[in-house]
Symmetry: C2
Subunit: 581 residues, 2 copies
């Protein structure tokens, strides 16, 4: 029992020196990657840079104790930082104490919500966010983030929740671009793009192993940070209106509960739910992908508990909402992380950095951080999902396109809500107007298929219908109408057999429709039969008196139904003709 909720008791028992070496090396590499990223994402969230570092310590320890993935690296991530900015920006002024407090409270709410979902084993809810919706959302968020960071690169103030607002705010200030800031940011941006694509091949050509080359190229952002900090100090860029990170408190965060009675706690609570869901889905999909490569499995409900604990820990140590990030988890995995201990060592690394290196951050230009964000998020932007869904089917396409548009034009929370709503509504719409096929016997088999697609044998007086959906309130009326319409096309029918292979459920509204169909057919002298009813459906119907009222029978298979009815009709005909004699 305890083992189930504390995965560390399972993997910790078999921990040995070989695993320790792998985990330490992975931790070192992830730490180097994480320092600039944590600072940058704090900037994106509108928070002081040290908050990013705080969110990369305790949360990693908490996830290490409770999380089920062996490769996931938890901390600040781009999309959640954007959502934090959007949630807190509406209720507190950027840079104020109230803003920092609201972000910590957001992490607390988010953590408690995730823990609650985990205890209630509600991890399955994440399945209602379809892959296309997530892909559309991530792409749109990446664009918004990249554009929002452009202002730091240009040395302009201003903000906004969606693409329009940000573009408008930038467009109005193009005259005020700070040349010095751009002179710092643009080279870093180009350097980082080159690092991403060109550095690793170069290092390999220089004779390094593929692994070493890949790991070294992860240090690109750190190089950018160090070089531009030195440049800012030497050329006194701070005096030339180049925004610098400035004084950062040194050392570890102090622990304490966030201010729980924030005046806007209701708004924060609803935002926390959105952030939790998005963070959870992102984290679980990364976790699943990486676990599958090692033939491991992760437990979504345990992930809820791990991520919930990480967010509560973040809140208690002055951080903001965190989740398992894609890029850093892949680096962690590639660097050879063997157990969740790698994440715990990373936390120690970030802690050391916070103690030793914070004084040097004073000269770091914000433009450098913005450049690292832009390069990171543009790799998330991928419009191919639009083409893929367009070729596949209209409902997936509409779900992606609406998520993308609403996220870009209105904002992140509306985008997610719209995507979930659109995909569910389209699914329900389809099930409310199900496909109904008239079927006949495939010659030489006992199998029945659509008469419009196959050469099949039919029987004039037996109308065989396959209803391709469960019968429930949303389609009960439609099916009733379609059935009467079909009877007009097949006026010689004396028996209607519903082939129920696709009927997984019959709810009370649908039962009432079936009862009315049964009655109205009986009035016209037509028998209603059901075939291939599934066990669970049969169980429910047996509790009602519908099966007694049914004018026809329930048949084990459709073939038995058609041959049985035909035999009975022949017998009847024979009896009638005997009578005539």
């Amino acid at each position: 029992m305890l083992q189930r909720y504390l995965p560390i008791l399972t993997w910790g028992r078999h921990y040995h020196r070989g695993l320790l070496a792998s985990d330490l090396l992975a931790a070192l590499i992830v730490t180097i990657m994480l320092i600039p990223q944590s600072l940058a994402y704090a900037l994106l969230a509108g928070l002081p840079p040290e908050v990013g570092l705080y969110a990369s310590m305790l949360p990693l320890l908490a996830y290490g104790l409770l999380g089920s993935s062996h490769s996931l690296s938890v901390g600040p991530v781009a999309v959640v930082s954007l959502m934090t900015a959007s949630a807190v920006g509406g209720i507190a002024e950027a840079g104020s104490i109230s803003y920092v407090q609201a972000a910590a409270l957001l992490a607390m709410f988010s953590g408690l919500f995730l823990l609650l979902m985990g205890v209630l084993r509600m991890g399955f809810l994440a399945n209602f966010l379809s892959h296309p919706v997530i892909a559309g959302f991530i792409t749109a968020s990446g664009l918004i983030i990249a554009l929002s960071q452009l202002r730091h690169l240009l040395g302009l103030p201003g903000q906004g929740d969606n693409l329009l607002e940000i573009a408008l705010s930038l467009g109005q200030q193009l005259d005020n671009i700070n040349g010095y800031t751009l002179a710092v940011g643009l080279p870093v941006l180009l350097f980082l793009f080159w690092v991403r694509s060109g550095l690793q091949p170069l290092l390999e050509r220089l004779g390094l192993s593929a692994y070493t080359a890949a790991m070294l190229s992860k240090a690109g952002p750190v190089v950018g940070v160090v070089l531009t900090s030195i440049a800012a100090a030497v050329f006194e860029l701070g005096d030339k209106q180049v925004a610098l990170v400035g004084q950062v408190p040194s050392g570890l965060p102090s622990l304490g509960l966030p201010t729980l009675n924030h005046p806007a706690w209701r708004e924060l609570l609803s935002s926390a739910i959105f952030i939790s869901v998005i963070g959870f889905v992102e984290s679980v999909s990364v976790g699943h992908t990486l676990a599958a490569k090692k033939r491991q499995r992760i437990d979504p409900n345990q992930e809820l508990i791990g991520l919930g604990a990480a967010n509560v820990a973040s809140s208690l140590s002055g951080g903001y909402p965190v989740t398992g990030g894609f890029a850093r988890s892949v680096v962690n995995f590639d660097a050879g992380a063997a157990t969740p201990a790698a994440g715990m060592f990373t936390a120690l690394g970030i802690g050391l950095a916070a103690i030793l290196f914070t004084p040097y951050l004073a000269y770091l230009p914000k433009a450098t951080l913005a450049a690292t964000i832009i390069v990171a998020v543009l790799s998330l932007v991928d419009f191919s999902i639009l083409k893929k869904t367009w070729n596949y089917g209209y409902s997936d396409f509409i779900a992606v396109a609406s998520t993308l548009c609403v996220t870009l034009l209105i904002g992140v929370e509306s985008g997610v809500a719209c995507g979930v709503f659109a995909s569910l509504a389209l699914h329900l719409y389809k099930t409310s107007k199900p496909h109904i096929a008239v079927v006949g016997e495939v010659p030489g088999t006992e199998h029945y298929r659509n008469i419009q697609r196959h050469n099949v044998i039919t029987h004039d007086e037996i109308l065989s219908l396959r209803i391709d959906e469960s019968l429930y309130f949303a389609n009960a009326g439609f099916i009733e109408d379609r059935l009467y319409a079909l009877l007009e096309d097949y006026p010689h029918s004396r028996h209607v057999v519903l082939l129920c292979t696709a009927v997984n459920e019959i709810d009370l509204s649908a039962l009432e429709a079936l009862e009315s169909i049964n009655e109205r057919l009986a009035e016209r002298g037509i028998c209603l039969h059901l075939s291939e009813l599934k066990g669970p459906v049969m169980d429910v119907l047996s509790n009602t008196d519908f099966l007694q009222q049914l004018s026809g029978k329930v048949w084990l298979s459709h073939h038995l139904a058609v041959s049985g009815i035909a035999a009975a009709m022949n017998q009847q005909a024979a009896a009638d003709s005997n009578w005539d004699i």
Copy 2:
């Protein structure tokens, strides 16, 4: 084309004297029934009594021109009146001009929304309100209405949107009960209850035909109105704090647009949507029931247009939201109404009454109207749906119970929203965790059934699985997990055949899951096959390269799949043993 949108062009062409006689008689009976009802429902909606009469004139003419039902009687109804009171009560003071204007604007919004739905042919949306949800809602509304009218019977002020508020408000004022009011209301209440159950049998025993007896007993409320008005005038009850209807403007309503720039038009718009949906669903279900008795059909989209026009007409003539009522439509039907002309004649009858009888309404006690409402709505209260759904299945029961509770405890709009949400959420929840059966051959047939329910033949190396649901984003992950778990129970499987009879759709998320299943099974040396894929699903998959990647085949029927795979395996085994020799 014009005929489709103007049903009067169809039935009007064959109108003759026989139909006229039936329609006139029905109109007379409905008019007599409708006068007290219109006054009473206006009272329930918090409006002056003449507004009820206005809502019973033009709307009936408009529906007569455009509606598709031959029996429906349109006008003020209980539930819509309650919803009007709840919507307008929140934004204007009862009895004020603003209140009356808001009610007219509500009718305009409601009418335009219904017309829009009709033009867009969105009538199917009403199907998403399941029968149990409607039953729960109507019962709860009936209780709220009855309790809310109790105050008029007791001569107390006060109001409320839900059972708790109303009961509390009544309970606090029990000391102030007005004995005279109760002395008027209670006898009327008892008289009307007796009329409902005892008058018709009595009249039949007195020698009247069943039809005449039934129709005469519909005049019960009018008798109550006349007698108590006389009593109020004679005993000067108005001076004894008995609330009377008071001066009512005589004559027909003046026509004109409602005040469109009402300050709270946004709130009214959202309420109008709720009212439209509820009104439409109530009207269509009555219309369907009555049409079925005459072997006629109604067209839900045309009904949207008819009801939309009726509401716009109501708004233009100083009325409030209307719909097709259950009780009056049944009376209209029973009285022999043959065409929508009956409703148009009823409108003329009400118009005559408004011109001739309004002066006499001054002495009518409100308690009399309250008594007619209580008797009418208590017949809507029916808790048997709770027992019925309890016996049938948990999801229908939860939908009813939550609708009932939320309507009673919070209010009508929340109740409807909760019912729709609960029933859809439960449906989606079930489809997100579908039943998966391991199937085997029923001996002597080509039919495959669940091994746990039937004695079937299975094959050690072939695992046959029937997935009882369409594959879509909400269940793709679940199905993947279940499949791997099942493979652990059947370790000898070398072929997995998915029997796809219940798979009506495979969306992009599910396709990705299938691709990953296919790959992971291939890694373990297991072939994935699909059988009995339906035409529409096959069409979609043919556009992708999944069928080329599939390690196994797609088979026309499951029997062909199992026998084909078994034959291939035997051949392989024979070839292997030849080699050994």
